[in-house]
């Protein structure tokens, strides 16, 4: 898990702090710095045929599901070799090959879609589950409500995971909802809701694994709220001037990667040396992938017309 968290961090840092500034990234950039534990902890133990509906700060999910660094970087640079062949914006990645569902910008739209994916598993009596990620702000959307409700009524094998990073763009939680916890909303659907420290990868893993098993065994959907913090602006162009600095300091101390490293060192699961090697490894892996992706071709202009409808 440490590896994937570090790889996420390195990859996103490279994209946001280097490639974006060099003008090599097409469009805006959204990263999940400080939230790496959520996607990694939630996805690490999924079955290959489980289906993951990602949102825009879940890079770890792509890496764990097997999307290559080169594919991801090609996507961010608008290349023909990215999973959307240059059709959709950078983090809007999806691929049936990896059972990863690309999200649409309209927040919350994935919630009923994840229920439908789960429904198909029920109909075919397959033991797969669908996982759906979203943020605290997305819970204000009508589709979030309709989706949560229909999943609960149909008892679909779906696990809903909220990364509550306390902000939606510049909007703090208290202007988004008049409740303290997103998980408080689970009861409104007759769902179990759990709150977990989103910066503790082990805790995320444990809670999600339980919810996944429950869903797999016919127990229906759950809502898991991962408390975390967005350690950046909303996107690369946002300096987050509206966030009180204390909050960044408070959460910096709770950085999920640092925490995992500390405990692993304590428990002797890891040596300073092996961490060093891991750091070197992720850096070089990303560097290599960037080099390849940069050489990847842009899509052919006329491909604009392709794939609107099924083509033989």
């Amino acid at each position: 898990m440490l590896y994937y968290m570090k790889l996420t961090r390195e990859l996103e840092d490279r994209i946001e702090r280097k490639l974006y500034r060099q003008g090599k990234i097409v469009g805006g950039v959204y990263v999940g710095r400080g939230q790496e534990a959520i996607a990694v902890g939630a996805c690490i133990d999924l079955e290959e045929d489980d289906v993951v509906c990602v949102s825009h700060r879940d890079m770890g999910a792509f890496l764990i599901r097997g999307m290559s660094l080169r594919e991801i970087l090609a996507q961010y640079m608008g290349r023909a070799t990215g999973p959307t062949k240059g059709k959709d914006a950078n983090m809007h990645m999806g691929s049936m090959k990896y059972n990863l569902i690309a999200f649409v910008s309209m927040l919350g739209d994935n919630i009923p879609v994840a229920a439908g994916i789960g429904l198909s598993f029920m109909m075919r009596e397959q033991k797969q589950v669908s996982i759906c990620f979203f943020g605290d702000g997305a819970t204000s959307r009508g589709d979030w409500h309709e989706g949560m409700n229909i999943a609960a009524v149909l008892k679909t094998p779906t696990v809903y995971i909220c990364n509550n990073n306390q902000y939606a763009y510049s909007t703090p939680l208290e202007r988004q909802m008049a409740v303290e916890n997103v998980a408080d909303r689970a009861e409104a659907y007759g769902m179990t809701g759990e709150i977990v420290d989103g910066n503790d990868v082990a805790a995320v893993w444990e809670v999600t694994t339980r919810a996944v098993e429950k869903a797999r065994n016919g127990g229906g959907p759950s809502l898991i709220e991962c408390k975390t913090f967005r350690m950046t602006g909303h996107s690369a162009h946002d300096d987050a001037g509206y966030v009180p600095p204390e909050l960044f300091e408070y959460w910096e101390k709770r950085d999920p990667i640092k925490r995992l490293v500390t405990t692993m060192l304590e428990n002797k699961h890891l040596t300073a040396k092996s961490i060093d090697e891991m750091d070197k490894r992720v850096v070089s892996e990303v560097t290599e992938a960037v080099a390849i992706a940069e050489k990847d071709p842009m899509p052919a202009p006329e491909d604009c017309l392709r794939d609107v409808y099924f083509e033989e």
Partner: protein, 324 residues
Amino acid sequence: MALTTYIEAIKQGIWEEMTADERVFILGEDVGIYGGAFKVTAGMLEEFGESRVIDTPISESAIVGTAIGAAMMGMRPIAEMQFADFISCAFDQITNFAAKCRYRWGAGIPIVIRGPSGGGVHGGPFHSQNPEMYFVHTPGLKVVCPSTAYDAKGLIKAAIRDPDPVIYFEHKFLYRRIKEELPTEDYTVPIGEAIVRRNGTDISVITYGAMVFLALDAAKELEKEGIDLEVVDLRSLLPYDKETVLDSVKKTNKVILLHEDTRTGGFAGELAAVIAEEAFEHLDGPVRRITAPDTPVPYSPPLEEFFLPKVSDIVRVARELNAY
């Protein structure tokens, strides 16, 4: 041989596809035990069971979203809108998720969204709408509007088998008013093919849905005056059958574009553009539109009657064009 109504034809088409293909299922409000507000799905719960005939909460957006998710996994969902008017509540899922998914990352969404549209039954502004243009203007979708029992059955089957999202508008005024004998063997009507309902030499009336029958009635009346209308039933609006439209115009050199939907931004505009672009030299008179006016669909009979295009409108405009 027994005659089959338009609504019964839709039901037969769904029934046959559900029998033939396990992946096909239906979801919507009151489609199960009640058999649907108009009884299109009556008996299906008993025949196919709860897992394939699913009563949902009143959540149009989630009905479509759930269908999308199931479709991505290889199912063939049919989502019912109790009235086509309520499709407005699922607009985002349809136009942003379903319509663009294949284009964005290659994931096809083989869903059918169907519901009763159209006026003439004093349903008022929210039970009489013709929402087709919202979807005709959305690349990635297909839109069909059958007018006969034969097409209703053939197009619902084609829609269910189609690999892309199809919006299927059933004209509620035709549900029980239209009957015909249907083939006993399996058939489909290809999406995107128009049909010439009446061959004529003087003026082409391009239309679809319930208006087809007004055009045919007008043709009968005009016959007496020696005005010979050709009536083209588009059947599909997206994609639509440009060739049949242009061939007809090139033959008659005069054209009336007729629809029940409101005027500004209606399908007649699209047709006028294609004709003025690609059949310009063949036009011997102005392109004339006959449509509902730009208002909501009113409720009270005198108002709704004023709102809906009438046979007399077609007769009047045809005479003017003929004299041109």
